[in-house]
């Protein structure tokens, strides 16, 4: 007898806990985009990487700090100055995004639901490697859109592994979905060259290496780096001194994720940056 309304996949394959494939089966998520085949004789459009923002993350004594500016741009226009680019995925994971917001937020939403769906159906937490791979697969599925010139997303993923040997883990990605584990720091977005320079400098020749910084020192470094990026990159908001808009800073630690209150960021900013 068929039981159509509650139809399930009877195969207990490795895909059993895969949320994106469930969404596709129900027609709630588009198929993985396929890049257009280059036509003979047609001018080849060179894909330009446009991720207008600055995201940075580094490990410090209290876990991983992830910071992002708040500006969203469309071409040369600033469209929004309170964008949230540092997103919580689960109790111990953060995804920070540079790229096209529509795709990035949708991707974060799929990822968030994927991890919860896996935990609920499979009755165990997804491993860190599994989570990293899940994001990689979403990027890979999106690559067709990237090649068509829309929807590029280049995220950073920070998480805390809570098993036998607790430790902070930090990954950055390219638009095709390749993942790279960062030992100390990662930065992405249009302002990232400047930030990478600062973090490299601080880590090697600063007063202390990044992983020994206290929370306040780490926040100070993050704010200085974002302010430097905003100095030369129009797509990065940095700190809006007149509007009192500060970057969004979240910390992943053994206890979970904390979002630093604006008052605290403002205090550090006033003391060490402004």
């Amino acid at each position: 007898m068929e039981r159509a309304p509650v139809g399930f996949d009877q195969n207990s394959s490795g895909a059993a806990g895969d949320f994106p494939s469930l969404l596709r089966r129900k027609g709630l998520l588009g198929p993985a985009a396929i890049a257009p085949m280059p036509q003979a004789g047609a001018a080849q459009k060179i894909w330009e990487q446009t991720e207008a923002t600055t995201i940075l993350a580094f490990k410090f004594s209290g876990g991983v700090l992830v910071a992002g500016d708040r500006r969203a741009t469309a071409g040369n226009t600033v469209v929004y100055d309170r964008a949230d680019k540092v997103l919580e995925i689960d109790r111990h994971s953060i995804m920070a995004i540079a790229g096209v917001p529509a795709t990035a937020w949708e991707m974060a939403r799929v990822l968030e639901h994927s991890l919860q769906y896996f935990r609920r159906t499979q009755l165990q937490e997804m491993s860190v490697d599994g989570k990293v791979r899940a994001l990689s697969k979403l990027l890979r599925d999106n690559f067709g859109f990237v090649m068509q010139g829309v929807g590029v997303v280049v995220p950073i993923f920070a998480t805390y592994k809570g098993n036998s040997k607790p430790e902070a883990r930090l990954y950055f990605y390219d638009a095709m979905g390749a993942q790279f584990e960062a030992t100390d720091y990662a930065a992405t977005g249009s302002g990232s060259p400047a930030v990478r320079g600062i973090l490299y400098y601080e880590n090697h020749w600063g007063a202390k290496p990044l992983h020994k910084l206290s929370e306040n020192e780490a926040v100070s470094v993050a704010l200085r780096a974002l302010d430097t990026a905003a100095e030369s990159d129009t797509a990065t908001g940095g700190v809006d001194r007149s509007g009192k808009i500060y970057p969004l800073i979240k910390i992943v630690s053994r206890e979970g994720i904390t979002t630093l209150p604006e008052s605290k960021i403002a205090a550090v900013f006033k003391e060490t940056v402004a």
């Binding site: 007898m1 039981r3 309304p5 399930f8 469930l22 009755l123």
Partner: protein, 259 residues
Amino acid sequence: MIEEPYRWVEAIANRREYLEAQLAPGSPIAALGFRDGILFLTVGQTRQKIFEIYDRIAMGAIGHPGDIERLRMAAIELASTEGFTRSAADVSLRRLVHYSLSPVMKSAFEQIYGPPYLARMLFAEVGRRPEEDLFLRVEYDGEIATNGATYAQARQDFAALSGTQQSRELMEQFLKDQHTPDSTFEAALNSALDAWSIGHMFLQAGETKKLPERAAVVQHRQEQLVNAGIEAAVLERDGSRAIRYRSLSDKELRALIRD
């Protein structure tokens, strides 16, 4: 032959008898709303019986593990896709059970050429206040019982599930006397354990309508807890986190048992 109406009624009655017999040894599950959330509790022998369904929804079930698994997966799929396409606030236990699970279970039960779902489930959804907690019990034939707001009964902030009707009714009778929705976690835990013990004592014991003596309940519980572990989970009322389900370990619970 089976097309004749009375044959069909007979087949359904046989099926009901068969299912009741299969479910009869099922270890009871108690769900109690208390000040800070909803506690699910059973004393587990082998396999897990309490599950997270969605942010504010949990489920306890007895029956065949294969059937429980299929219904559990269906509930998670429905809740997750709803929560994804709309928002977590749009996922409602009432809709999930009334419009999706119950019709499927009813038609499986009544289509006598196919197998029914051998499962009895207890769902709960935690509200902002104890008055908003929702408990739903779903039977193998799709029948639904709720924790109140019906004509015949006052609203209750608890629900029970057991292998037999009389065992369940005794648990409910006990909880009606003993449990209040503003109790602490510790009080709820002890009431839930006593309710479980009463339900377990009267799974097979004929037509009793009377609650046992307190000493007998305590003794039964102590005997059972020598070999079996406590399986429990809470749905937290605290709204600061989206995901409210938290499973509790046997060890942390044993420390809170009063006698």
